[in-house]
Structure formats: C-alpha cells, structure tokens
Symmetry: C2
Subunit: 173 residues, 2 copies
DNA sequence: ACCTGAACACCGTTCAAGT
DNA sequence: ACCTGAACACCGTTCAAGT
C-alpha cells in the first residue's frame, strides 16, 4: 500500500478513501484483469476447443499480475463480476460438451484451480528485481497446455475413471 | 516468527540461531510434513492406482498446514529431500504407467501443481479463528479426487489430445 | 469527496553482547 | 551453541482534522 501510495504521490492513508483494505484492492485488481480474458461467444464453436482457449487466455492474463495470484488462489478466486461472467461461460461450454448435473461444477472448479494454480506456480521468487525480460513462467505455458489437454480429455471421456482397487468408476449412477 | 518465538518462550531473534529466514523455515516445515506422505513401494502394484493414492495422500498431508501452502506453491514447491524422494517415486510410477521421455516431467509437474494448487485453494479465509472443527477443505476432497481421476485418465490415454482446431494431437511424434 | 500528519500495533531481521 | 536487549527499516490501518 505504501509503495502504491508513493507511486500515486499521495500519503499512504489516502488510499483508504478509495479502498477498504489491501485484500479488497487485490481482489478488485485481479477481477479487473480478468476482463481481458478472451471468451468465446455463447453457443458457437466446438465447446471443448472453447474451454481449451478460454483457460489458456485466463492463464496468460493472470500471468500479467502473477505476484498477486497466490493470494487470489488462497482467497478461492474471490468472485468479482468478471469471474462470475467467466464462470457462466464455462458452465455453458461444459454443458454443450456433455458435462452437466453434479459433474459440471466439479469440472469447473477443477479447471479453475488448475489454471490459477499453474499461474501461481509460475511466479518466480524475486531473484533479480531489476531485469524485466519476457513474462516469467512463459516457458511453463507449454506444460500448462499439456496438462489442460489431459484434463479436458479426462473430463470429456464418458467414465474412464482410474479407480484404485478395481470397481469401475460410477460417480453419479 | 514473533508468534512462534512466543510459543517457544524465547526472544524473537533467538530463532535466527536455528533458521536463516522465515522462508527457509516454511520450506523446511512443508518438506518435513511431506515425510508423512504414504508412498507405494517401488515396482509393485498398479502404477495408475499408485499415482492416484500417492497424490491423494500428498493432498491430505498438505492440508494439515494448509495456511503455509500458498507460499509453498509460489516458491515452486521448494525441493527438500522429501519432495525429491516423492518426485523419484512419481517418475517411477509414471514410467511403469507408460509415460516416459519428455512427457514424464511434464506429467509430474502437472500432477504436483494440481495437488498443491487444490490444497492452497482449500485454505479458507480466517472467518472464525476460534472454531477448530474438521480440517477445512475436507469437503473439497471429493472434488479433488474427481479432477485427479480426469487428469490420470488423460495422462494415461495414448494421445487423446483435445486440439482446438482439428489436427489430432501429436506432441512427441 | 479527497487528502494530510500523527500515531498504533505490528512485522522480519541484524548486531553486539552475554553465558 | 544458544540466548538476550536494543534497534532498524519496514508494514497495514485508524483517527481526527483539514479543504
């Protein structure tokens, strides 16, 4: 807060005329950033591909403020208006991909946690405060995409549960 | 640090005779906790089931110190001896599950990020500091397991890539 | 509505000194 | 080897007061 105030050339406590707390500010910033996520128009295109693109866009957008992401993850991706909008889009895509009922919110949460988790993971410890090369964690994007595909493949598969001790998976029968 | 020192009934700076920094302490604690993860003996049992059980055990063990997990995630799961041991076990299981070469470390990282990410996500914001019911986030275990199964199914599947624009996935041809 | 100075109640960490 | 008192350089936040 003090650093931000310095950058705005005001006293630190002046910020509290605009924001109730640091946490609320971070939540607001992250949700603001989510406005830049490129979401496919509802009802058009392959839903699986739509989910694929949506999560990748989310991942890349989160990387812009990657230092704030861990806090965001711990706060369970505080639901701002933009996060809410993306949630609705995800459910629509999942529904068209054949994932509905109790499985839908589960799949959504898994995709969200995976994506935010990877963005938080990409956060490099501040080794060199000066150098500002390409966005760190960008090298991990390929890894993120691989996992995303595995996840989507598993979600799309009818019931390919990898059950530990025999007994084919049947979660909703 | 000051709270810990109080609990140990020593001055805060006394801790620095045993630990170089707060970050190092957290890393050590988390790695210590990882010692409790139940890992299957190498070479025996179904590797897919082994991975399944290993990640679930890791998830549950991390929940014990769930408030430290977000920091741990941001530090990329700092590699202590126990984390290293688990990594080797994972690679062995992946190999026996038919995942080798460049795909193996990718799959490993995906599984780790997913697991730590979910544990970090399970962290509840401290609403009620007093009440200590069952470990929070325990209700999310079912959701975690669902996602884990989807992930393992996707990893195990030969090449069921969900490619955005046609063109069947072939990552290592 | 938006800012300020001053202060409160904290942090992690270092340093010199003790035993 | 392990501890202490004192201090440094910070935090986020509140409060009363100014315009």
């Amino acid at each position: 807060m003090r650093t931000l105030a310095e950058r705005l050339e005001v006293a630190p406590n002046a910020l509290y005329s605009h924001v109730t707390s640091k946490t609320a500010l971070i939540d607001a910033v992250l949700d603001d950033v989510l406005a830049e996520v490129e979401a496919p128009a509802p009802g058009v295109g392959d839903p699986s591909a739509g989910l694929h693109d949506l999560m990748i866009s989310t991942y890349q957008v989160l990387l812009v403020h990657r230092d704030l992401v861990p806090a965001y993850l711990a706060r369970q991706g505080a639901r701002g208006p933009n996060a809410q909008r993306l949630g609705e889009i995800m459910l629509e895509l999942l529904d068209r991909a054949g994932v509905s009922g109790a499985r839908a919110p589960e799949a959504m949460r898994v995709l969200i946690v995976y994506t935010i988790g990877f963005a938080a993971f990409a956060t490099r410890p501040p080794i060199d405060a000066g150098a500002s090369g390409p966005v760190p964690g960008e090298e991990l994007t390929g890894n993120f995409v691989s996992g995303l595909r595995w996840l989507l493949a598993g979600i799309a598969a009818p019931n390919t549960a990898v059950n530990p001790r025999g007994r084919a998976g049947r979660r909703d029968a």
